[in-house]
């Protein structure tokens, strides 16, 4: 019995290693690809923003119901999964930030919402899934994200010097839950998880099995992200912030599995060969990546990282979620950019082997940089 207790604590209370999160998310992303479509997050934000502006009378066309939009289900499932994982681990609580931080959350969200339109997606769709699709725009957004992250950290360093009193802890924080509430929380988490398992069945009864499966997989991604705190922003940021490179190496493992998984799906004919190529290969992906990267440092969460922190009750990231939904929806609705074209790497390189080698080489360069920088700390800003 005590062995079971240990296992339970290890899985549901203690943190998972970051690399385990990467492997879990790569697996879920491949499963999503098989089930219906590549893993993406920003579309969910946009669906929610569209609904707000539709109900406010600004848009004429009614958006797809958030309960049926596959984008909304991937993003919403992530929040719910993280919510139940945080209840079970006893980490759920509303955390109130100081007003300055709240402002950074709002602005960071708005900046990300705009950048994601230029790049065609956020860190998940535009970077992670786009690289797996062997789209050139994914690699270009990667470069943009690195630059944006660096600039964002430069800003944070400046801010700590220039307005030190604004970024102090304020004592306003968590509302400690009462004893009974605390005791009930894990059970609510478990009820949610069991319900999520029945989603394909419940949706299936209304001929929406696909949506049910996507909601379930989104839910799983939330559990994995919360348990491992698999933050994309941290992988880009750590080499410049603390000099640590372990998260870059985990990201490499995740990307490697995802690229191989998707390539096999294409080889088997399960997935169309040139699917999910964004027509942002050009300035769109680079500039969008820079803007998005800057925003995610300001907010302290990327497209997916914001959602898992919303699930554990962080008010700053709830503000980020709202502003990102609004700005992304408005930008997409009123402005139409075309800052690139769609480029399939096997076409560009002349062969599949060439494309896979190129992706591998770029990612290995990132790993090499993180290791070299760990020793030399040449690019550490603090």
């Amino acid at each position: 019995m005590s062995v079971m207790k240990d296992v339970y604590r290890q899985v549901f209370v203690k943190e998972w290693p970051y690399w385990a999160g990467g492997i879990g998310l790569a697996a879920i992303a491949v499963l999503l690809w098989v089930a219906d479509q590549p893993w993406g997050i920003i579309g969910g934000y946009r669906n929610w923003g569209d609904w707000f502006f539709y109900l406010a009378g600004l848009y004429d066309k009614m958006p797809v119901s958030p309960l049926l939009s596959t984008k909304s289900l991937m993003a919403g499932g992530l929040v719910l999964g993280a919510f139940s994982a945080s209840l079970i681990s006893g980490q759920f609580g509303f955390r109130m930030p100081p007003w300055w931080e709240l402002g950074k959350g709002v602005i960071g969200g708005a900046v990300m919402g705009f950048g994601a339109v230029l790049a065609g997606g956020c860190n998940v769709g535009g970077f992670f899934s786009n690289i797996a699709a062997l789209s050139l725009s994914g690699l270009l957004m990667w470069a943009g994200l690195l630059i944006g992250t660096f600039l964002g950290l430069k800003y944070l360093g400046w801010e700590m010097e220039a307005v030190p009193s604004a970024v102090m802890g304020r004592g306003v924080n968590i509302k400690p839950a009462g004893k009974t509430v605390k005791a009930i929380q894990p059970y609510i988490g478990w009820i949610l998880i069991v319900t999520a398992m029945f989603c394909p069945l419940i949706y299936g009864n209304h001929y929406y099995t696909k949506q049910g499966i996507i909601l379930f997989l989104g839910f799983m991604s939330g559990i994995v992200m919360h348990r491992s705190r698999f933050c994309f922003a941290a992988a880009f940021r750590d080499p410049f912030m603390t000099g640590e490179g372990d998260k870059v190496r985990s990201m490499f493992v995740a990307l490697f599995l995802y690229v191989i998984g998707v390539s096999l799906l294409k080889w088997k004919g399960i997935s169309p060969e040139t699917w999910y190529l964004f027509s942002t290969a050009g300035w769109g992906a680079v500039v969008g990546g820079i803007i998005f990267g800057f925003g995610m440092i300001l907010a302290g969460g990327c497209g997916s990282g914001t959602l898992f922190r919303v699930g554990e009750g962080q008010i700053k990231l709830i503000a980020t979620l709202i502003s990102m939904s609004f700005v992304n929806s408005l930008t997409k609705h009123y402005l139409h950019f075309k800052f690139g074209e769609s480029v399939f790497l096997p076409d560009l390189m002349g062969s599949w082997t060439g494309a896979l080698i190129l992706v591998l080489a770029v990612m290995l360069f990132w790993v090499w940089f993180s290791c070299w920088n760990e020793e030399n700390e040449k690019f550490v800003l603090f």
Binding site: E15, P97, V172, A234, G300, K316
Partner: protein
Amino acid sequence: MEETPDVTLDLKGLSCPMPILKIKKQLKKMNSGQILLAIGTDPGTTNDVGRTCEKDGHELLGIEEEGGVAKYYIKTG
């Protein structure tokens, strides 16, 4: 914790990456052997603080958690 801190840093309400940045910056200002007490509410900090301290040659003496508030005791190296 028995140790009496030389400096106390309030990080309550701040979220990732601010707590780690502020701890890192504060430790740089302190003399070797002094003790920093940082108090925060971001679950991510508990995950990262140990490795960050170790990398910079400081020692994480311990973490006390109660009611969602964590206290980090760090000895500068």
